[in-house]
């Protein structure tokens, strides 16, 4: 791991750790807190961006390659925007600094997870990413969020249990946790397949793949939407990259048997996510089930793991996903805070009340739906091209049909916002500096459109990674 990258995670985690202390000592206001955290984010972002050169440390545990730099930078940007929005929408008396502290530590965990190349460091990074979110889910302080918190905790514990069992099987066979050692010593064996199943199950919980998706919508809906943005956007994208490293770097021997199973899981995940999303009335649940469906699209790329394009598909979809999903939940969070809008009925005419915010929300929804020129479109092109290239045209067709039907609920939100007459008369929290909060969201929208057209950074990083894992 590059020393600058390590420093970036340290800076972020330490800023997060000291934020509540500073608050205890000086009673900082929301704006001051946002400024202090922003400094942490900017320094960390700078360090991640320059981590292409410099000394290497912890070689057997973490690796810094173009993928971890790219995705790390984007995860940082998204997390930064989440921080700004959470400060803006959270009332003062709710331990907001503690929440931001947990957010930053969790993001540091995500940064480590996307660069882990050893099962020990993978587990540690994943727990560092997950542990703070157990607290964050409880943050709404109502019965629903307690229910969500308990559900999330047990599912998370179960996931880690599965994963550790799988890892211990691999360790028993090879005596090593290191990916580079595992890839040399493993051979096609039923026990390896069993271990892979357990590791997949562990990741399946994290990325809400069918049949481990049940907790997802309940938790995303039960907790406050800023936390949901972190969980569905940042944590899931980091888990995608982590799973990608496991599959391509540690256990590529499974490529013979697993594609079909992965393809079936992908098809089921997409279909279940989209069908259930169509049936929802609450916007947060629609977004939650759409995130399940998006896990399915990424799994399509995993199912195509025999072709180099699948790497591009996974990385591009993670990149697009971290922006569009996080930002969509943040838009929902702002609308919930200002207008108290939860259900589809509340969304009627909101686009007229909030033209700019509505337009931004629309950009994110259309990107999730895969409408060009947003990144969500081009990432789907890569994912499904990989599937066709791997000889799974049927899977690509299922995925594309899913994507077409998913438009129905995204455009349904757009319809409620712009084509219907307003039902909500007065905002419940009318803030005078409302337009400031549009800035972070606009940044994400611009980045989303930029990455939808300027594909070079992501594709170059993927090409380097594909060459590294032997394509």
């Amino acid at each position: 791991m590059n020393i600058n990258y390590l420093a970036a995670t340290m800076v972020l985690a330490l800023t997060g750790a000291f934020l509540p202390v500073i608050n205890r000592l000086f009673r900082i206001s929301g704006i001051q807190g946002a400024l202090i955290s922003s400094i942490g984010y900017i320094v960390s972002l700078f360090l991640v961006l320059i981590s292409g050169e410099g000394r290497s440390v912890l070689k057997g545990f973490f690796t810094t390659d173009p993928v971890s730099i790219l995705v790390g930078a984007l995860v940082l940007v998204s997390s930064w925007m989440v921080m700004l929005v959470v400060y803006w929408i959270t009332e003062k008396d709710k331990f907001v600094n503690e929440l931001i502290s947990a957010l930053m530590i969790s993001t540091a965990g995500a940064l480590l997870l996307i660069s882990a190349n050893n099962f020990i460091s993978l587990i540690i990074a994943m727990e560092l990413m997950t542990m703070p979110t157990y607290l964050m889910v409880l943050f709404a302080f109502d019965d629903k969020s307690f229910e969500a918190g308990v559900k999330y905790f047990f599912n998370g514990a179960l996931a880690v249990g599965f994963m550790l069992f799988g890892i211990s099987l691999l360790y028993g066979m090879t005596g090593s946790f290191d990916f580079s050692a595992l890839v040399k010593n493993l051979f096609s064996d039923p026990l390896v397949a069993l271990a892979a199943v357990f590791i997949f199950a562990g990741f399946g919980f994290k990325i809400t793949a069918f049949p481990f998706h049940f907790w997802g919508p309940d938790v995303y809906d039960g907790t406050c939407p800023g936390v949901a943005a972190l969980l569905t956007g940042i944590s899931k994208s980091a888990a995608f990259i982590g799973l990608m490293r496991v599959v391509y770097e540690a256990i590529p021997v499974i490529a013979g048997h697993f594609p079909l199973i992965l393809a079936i899981i992908a098809a089921l995940t997409m279909t279940v996510g989209n069908l259930l999303a169509l049936a929802q009335k609450r916007v947060s649940r629609i977004l939650a089930y759409s995130s399940v469906a998006h896990a399915g699209y990424t799994l399509v790329a995993f199912a195509a793991l025999s072709v180099p394009l699948s790497v591009t598909g996974i990385i591009y979809h993670s990149v697009a996903y971290v922006f569009m999903k996080t930002a969509a939940f943040l838009c929902f969070a702002v609308l919930l805070f200002v207008w108290g809008a939860r259900t589809m009925d509340d969304y009627k005419g909101l686009g007229r009340r909030e033209p700019l915010l509505g337009a931004l929300f629309l950009i994110f929804l259309l990107s999730l739906a895969g409408v060009p020129p947003m990144a969500g479109f081009i990432s789907k092109v890569f994912v499904f091209t990989a599937a066709v290239d791997a000889g799974m045209t049927w899977l690509a067709l299922i995925g594309l049909l899913n994507s077409a039907f998913s438009v129905a609920y995204y455009i349904w939100i757009a319809k409620q916002m712009y084509l219907e007459e307003p039902t909500l008369e007065k905002p419940i929290n009318d803030s005078p500096n409302k337009n400031w909060i549009l800035l972070p969201l606009a940044v994400m929208a611009v980045l989303l459109i930029l990455f939808g057209i300027w594909i070079n950074p992501v594709v170059d990083a993927s090409a380097v990674y594909a060459a590294k894992v032997g394509f």
Partner: protein, 481 residues
């Protein structure tokens, strides 16, 4: 830079329409008019400078060469004709929308729509073609959904989901094509000999996408709803530009690229075309709703376009492109006037109209001229288009196409019957003192007069259109030998 500026300028100035509304309510429409005139000047410049054959004004913007994901723009004669339609309709639609409600958002969406629309017709990169193609849906969705008639939300949702679903097949076709050729470039795909079975798969997948947009039976059901609910100027965009995208895509990306496969599927295309012509003709005959009737006659004309394309000869394709021009001009006029009739009499139904010629002779004279052009009166674009298509079809398919002139008679039948019931005859009692039943203001007459002048000019001197693209089509037609 000309082509890129034609795509980017409308999109970049679009936010000013939205912001400008707050400063001055009239600003957005003048901005939109200025952009329309800008597009017209650019197109005129391109037409004048066009060397006569092949692709010209090539612009190449590198993005990611290994995947061939580059913005490659160029025009040939066919694109130029369609660009001319874009610029012409941009101006007429702006003038027709002069008194629209909420002009800021309305013209914002029009400008957002125009840029990608130009992009569709000038892109030589298949993926960029798709990006432009797909993006045009978004502004149309809001136009129909916000400014449409009573049932607008249903129509807008149906329009978006239906055509998006069709685009998915187009995208899958593009992906399969890319994986077999490793390129998105028109010029490169043209020189690659594709395995026939792959070519057939790609052809069918892409055809579904184009056929829904055109639309042809049985993929047409979104169109009557969208047209009837859309405000009239937007119906003009739908009929004049969106449907042309389907026909243009079919021509550029299927018939030119896969001549042999197209030859294999030509009877299928001809069958669908004849089915469309007859089905839409009979539906129009049975229709009481005046705008829906025009919508079916629009489908009927697109059937002629497909029939011309399916002939796969230079004559057939050039007739089809000519018919596209005629359709854009004639059907636009009819949609506008159908909208005005509803606006003035508050009814859509032919059975509730009657004798309105007596009250608004000016508008109705234009309507009659438009109807005559639509049924193919000599001296108008409708005549030349249908005649050349039929001749090409006879030439290629032989005596079986003898049924097509019957459909033409059917078209004459439903239009004349409608005129007799709705426009001529005694004036109905309830219209005698209707205050709203009066002639249009000048600014709304200008676009109507422009349509009429345009289709008469291209009808009397078809060479102005034919000469532009015939060399191109002749070059490509050698592929079918």
């Amino acid at each position: 830079m000309v082509l890129l500026s034609m795509i980017l300028l409308p999109v970049l100035v679009a936010p000013f329409a939205w912001i400008g509304e707050k400063v001055n309510r009239d600003f957005p429409k003048y901005l939109s008019l200025a952009v329309g005139i800008f597009l017209a000047f650019c197109t005129a410049y391109l037409i004048v400078k066009y060397p006569g054959n092949g692709f010209a004004f090539e612009e190449f913007y590198r993005i990611y060469p290994p995947f061939d994901f580059n913005l490659h723009l160029a025009v040939d004669g066919i694109s130029l004709v369609l660009l001319a339609i874009v610029a012409f309709l941009a101006i007429t639609v702006t003038l027709s929308s002069w008194h629209v409600e909420r002009p800021g958002a309305y013209f914002f969406l029009i400008l957002i729509f125009l840029g990608p629309m130009v992009g569709v017709f000038v892109s030589l990169n298949l993926l960029w073609f798709f990006i432009f193609w797909e993006f045009t849906l978004v502004p149309m969705f809001f136009h129909i959904g916000i400014w449409g008639a009573e049932n607008r939300i249903y129509a807008a949702m149906k329009f978006f989901i239906y055509t998006h679903l069709a685009s998915i097949f187009l995208l899958l076709g593009i992906i399969v094509l890319y994986l077999s050729t490793h390129t998105f470039e028109f010029g490169k795909i043209l020189n690659i000999h594709l395995d026939p079975s792959v070519a057939k798969l790609v052809w069918i997948l892409m055809f579904i996408g184009f056929a829904v947009k055109m639309p042809v039976v049985p993929f047409h059901t979104w169109l009557p709803d969208a047209h009837v609910q859309a405000p009239s100027p937007i119906s003009v965009f739908l009929a004049g530009l969106l449907l042309k995208m389907g026909a243009y895509g079919l021509l550029r990306w299927e018939i030119f690229l896969f001549p042999q496969t197209s030859k294999f599927f030509a009877p299928l295309m001809a069958f669908i075309a004849v089915l469309t012509i007859f089905y839409a003709g009979f539906r129009a005959l049975a229709e009481d709703h005046i705008k829906r009737m025009v919508a079916y006659s629009s489908i009927n004309h697109m059937g002629f376009v497909l029939l011309g394309l399916s002939a796969l000869t230079a004559a057939g394709i050039s007739a089809a492109v000519y018919e596209m021009v005629g359709h854009a001009l004639v059907i636009s006029l009819l949609f506008m006037i159908a909208g005005y009739i509803h606006h003035k009499t508050h009814t859509w139904y032919i059975s509730e109209l009657g004798g309105i010629m007596k009250k608004i002779p000016g508008l109705m004279t234009m309507f009659v001229i438009g109807v005559l052009a639509a049924v193919g009166l000599p001296g108008t674009a409708g005549f030349v288009g249908e005649l050349t298509v039929m001749l090409a079809a006879f030439d290629y398919y032989g005596w079986i196409m003898v049924i097509v002139p019957l459909a033409s008679a059917l078209g004459a039948g439903f239009f004349m019957w409608m005129l007799q019931r709705a426009v001529f005859g005694p004036l109905r009692e309830e219209f005698k003192n209707l205050a709203t039943l009066k002639e249009l203001p000048l600014v709304e007459n200008i676009p109507l007069a422009m349509y009429i002048a345009a289709f008469i000019i291209v009808g009397i001197v078809p060479a102005v259109v034919f000469n532009l693209y015939n060399p191109v089509i002749n070059t490509f037609a050698q592929l079918f030998q």
